[in-house]
């Protein structure tokens, strides 16, 4: 009898653990993926300031407040000065919010926070949650290393951190809707490095995958934006998810639960459809790029397959269509159109299409079909025009383009509107490691054009490369003509370029070989750059800088110098012996330079009234008084 009981318990434990392993492999791939997720969450929470950073967050918070009370329209300005905050739009006499997908998906986080608030002091509860996530990370790392000392020592360290945080905790200003949005964005952002790891680990090795995730988390402003309720980190996660699904759709069935290539192919379209619920114009761009690359390169385009894809895409659009119907009364009209310029373009294009339609196809097609075609074609035409405008800006406004991509400095359009500080960095100043993409030059020099292109199917890796490259180019073109503008800090509109750039970087054989052979040199440089270089930067800012704009530009010049050195090395394409080690060190320096900016920006430059979620980070910010 007792033996039976024991056996039953073991059986239940097995079922439980196998369900957990399934869930883990679906969400994170493997234990390393889970570790990356937990580590990213812990890191993002360090950067979390529990207040509003950009004013249109008021719109989202009020939107979530209204939604939690069952109203899609904004009803009450619980946050901010009023309902007409940036991002809110008037429609038919009511005010609507934006990014409804984000609002709906933040609801569970809101309920979770309300539940926590009911049983604990919210500040202590958040500190406890953070400590538990860190503890989970320690346990997973302990399992990975198979050493009990790691687990036990780490757990004691967590306890110390928890006690110190509680000792200096202050009460939190209640803003549950804002905090729910911030938690949702952090959770989504934490999946971005996991997806990059899973993709690169499948393409190459687990080590390369892990290093790619490290480059992404520390070498780009991901951690800075993770806790800020803007769509940018969501976009990054979506493009990486699409790239991963696209890759898996061209490799043999593998894994648990979701394994078939067709399932992954459908998933890539469904992700785009779901993203349309958050920001339709960008989703349109991703969808077009995906279709243009996926359909011609797929091995199987039978009608049955295409029907499956179309169904998956249509299903993923259901939330958007439901929201549109509730808000505007029309399933097709998104609450927010592409931009003022796009809207006017749409009107002209629409009128041209109508005259053309009545002239030729009108006799054959019934009017509703013409209307539907128009409704589908107009956004495409607008998108195409926007891309052309962007391409033209490359020629007509090279100085503005260089300010967006290379060197920011002081100029009127990028100044913070209130105080004239040059606080908007360029792409390269935000993520200097992207300069390593220059290693593509030696690759192209040795590249020989294949004899015939017909009858060749691209490999899964090549398809993913092409998708990533084209998406990066199109995202850049979509916004080039409008940038630089104020309040973007790290060219946040081009945020997808950070993960896509890191992917392309590790795909280059030069960089990969160096990371693989000299990963220790890279990691040590990164650690030294943050811990020792960080102190030097703090001293430099304290002594040589007396304003936030100058501090930002100091970081910009520091990053640019590491970018310059990195690109010079990357252009040589040499990886043997010392050149390889130098490459690893330069990658580490570029990564740490970006990390230092993110850390100091979150802790010090934009302390936002010392509202850091974790008391110890707040205390550090109060201790440092730099600008």
């Amino acid at each position: 009898m007792s033996a039976d009981t024991v056996q039953n318990r073991r059986f239940h434990a097995d079922v439980r653990s196998s369900a957990w392993v399934t869930l883990r492999s679906v969400l994170f791939g493997d234990r390393i993926g889970l570790c990356l997720f937990l580590a990213s969450l812990c890191l993002f929470a360090l950067f979390w300031r529990t207040t509003v950073f950009i004013t249109d967050t008021y719109t989202l918070a009020n939107g979530l407040y209204s939604l939690s009370n069952g109203n899609v329209f904004l009803t009450e300005a619980v946050y901010g000065p009023g309902l007409n905050t940036p991002g809110a739009e008037e429609y038919g006499g009511s005010v609507i919010a934006r990014n409804y997908g984000v609002l709906v998906l933040s609801l569970p986080f809101l309920w979770g926070l309300e539940a926590l608030d009911a049983v604990a002091d919210l500040r202590i509860a958040l500190v406890a949650l953070w400590s538990l996530v860190l503890l989970a990370l320690i346990v997973q790392v302990g399992r990975l290393t198979e050493r009990r000392e790691v687990t036990a020592g780490g757990a004691v360290a967590v306890l110390c951190l928890f006690v110190s945080n509680v000792a200096i905790a202050r009460p939190m200003d209640p803003a549950p809707h804002l905090h729910a949005l911030q938690l949702f964005h952090m959770a989504v952002a934490a999946f971005a490095p996991v997806l990059l790891y899973r993709l690169v680990a499948r393409l190459h090795t687990v080590r390369t995958g892990s290093l790619a995730a490290v480059l992404f988390v520390f070498g780009t402003p991901l951690a800075f934006w993770a806790a800020i309720p803007k769509r940018h980190v969501v976009t990054a996660t979506v493009v990486l998810g699409v790239a991963y699904a696209l890759y898996r759709s061209r490799t043999a069935a593998d894994g648990v639960l979701v394994s078939r290539p067709l399932a992954f192919r459908s998933l890539s379209y469904a992700l785009v459809g779901l993203y349309a619920w958050v920001h339709a114009p960008e989703a349109l761009l991703f969808g077009v790029v995906l279709a243009v690359i996926d359909v011609p390169t797929a091995a199987d385009n039978r009608p049955r397959t295409l029907v499956v894809l179309a169904t998956a895409f249509a299903l993923s659009l259901v939330p958007l269509i439901v929201t549109n119907t509730l808000v505007t009364g029309s399933p097709l009209r998104p609450p927010r159109l592409i931009a003022a310029a796009g809207e006017s373009g749409a009107r002209t294009v629409g009128s041209i299409a109508t005259s053309g339609g009545s002239g030729r196809g009108g006799a054959v097609l019934s009017p509703p079909v013409v209307g539907l075609l128009e409704a589908g074609a107009t956004p495409l035409v607008v998108l195409f025009r926007e891309l052309l405008v962007g391409a033209r800006a490359l020629v007509t406004d090279p100085i503005d383009v260089s300010r967006t991509f290379v060197r920011s400095g002081t100029f009127t359009t990028s100044l913070n509107q209130s105080d004239g500080e040059a606080v908007n960095l360029s792409l390269l100043e935000s993520a200097p490691l992207l300069a390593g993409v220059a290693a593509v030059v030696p690759v192209l020099q040795t590249w020989s054009r294949p004899k015939s292109l017909t009858g060749r199917t691209l490999s899964a890796a090549r398809v993913t490369d092409v998708y990533v490259t084209l998406t990066a180019v199109c995202v850049a073109l979509l916004y080039t003509s409008r940038l630089p503008i104020h309040a973007q800090v790290t060219v946040r509109y081009l945020f997808p370029l950070f993960p896509l750039g890191v992917y392309l970087l590790v795909r280059l054989p030069t960089v990969r070989r160096v990371l693989d052979a000299h990963w220790r040199a890279f990691c040590w440089t990164l650690a030294a750059g943050i811990l020792l270089g960080g102190q030097l930067v703090v001293v430099a800012v304290a002594v040589g800088v007396n304003g936030i704009g100058a501090a930002f530009q100091l970081h910009a010049l520091l990053s640019l110098s590491t970018a310059l050195a990195l690109s010079a090395w990357a252009l040589t394409g040499r990886t043997e012996r010392w050149s390889g080690r130098i490459g690893a060190v330069l990658l580490g320096l570029a990564t740490s330079s970006a990390a230092l900016f993110s850390i100091l920006a979150a802790v010090e430059y934009y302390a936002l009234g010392d509202t850091h979620a974790l008391p110890m980070v707040r205390a550090l910010g109060e201790l440092l008084r730099l600008v």
């Binding site: 007792s2 033996a3 009981t5 024991v6 009911a118 049983v119 604990a120 002091d121 500040r123 202590i124 509860a125 500190v127 406890a128 400590s131 538990l132 503890l135 320690i138 346990v139 302990g142 009990r148 000392e149 687990t151 036990a152 757990a155 004691v156 967590v158 306890l159 928890f162 509680v166 200096i168 905790a169 202050r170 009460p171 939190m172 060197r407 920011s408 400095g409 002081t410 105080d419 004239g420 500080e421 040059a422 040589g544 800088v545 007396n546 304003g547 704009g549 100058a550 930002f552 530009q553 100091l554 910009a556 010049l557 008084r625 600008v627």
Partner: protein, 173 residues
Amino acid sequence: MLLSTLLQSYVTMDYARAVVLGVASVVVVTALVSGPLVPGVSLTQERDVAYGTGNVTVAEVQFPDRVTIERASFGQDGYYLTVPPATVRFSTLSGSPTMVYRLAIDELGYTRSTVHFLSESVGERYEATIQSDSFDENELTNETYHGTVGVVVEDSRSRRVVAERAVTVEVVG
């Protein structure tokens, strides 16, 4: 039999697991104690809210001799105002009074002040600062300006100017 199995599992439970479970329970229990389930316990320190109350007497204020407006560095255009700190000595300090350190440049129609929240933990001597500020190039025509720096305190008794002095504001670079 069952009991012995259970006991055995406790004995063989590895110590790392025990530490992890122990830490996790401390964290969870602390969070629950902080909440409304256990009334009367507060783990968060409320910040002093009644600023500008209490009692403060200033014995001496040492102002800087020179205030500068320096050209900004690292590609930031324009100029930054730098006011060195003023050293304030208190003869009495209790409660939570406030102190304002301010600068006025009449020729530019410019004033800037920074509020300092005092408490007993401040001690006898305090370095008051003024937050830096930026100037446009075309705002500045002279090489020097006449400015006034001052310290104002507010406590339960009154709000009063305790020291004031003229300074030269130099434009550098």
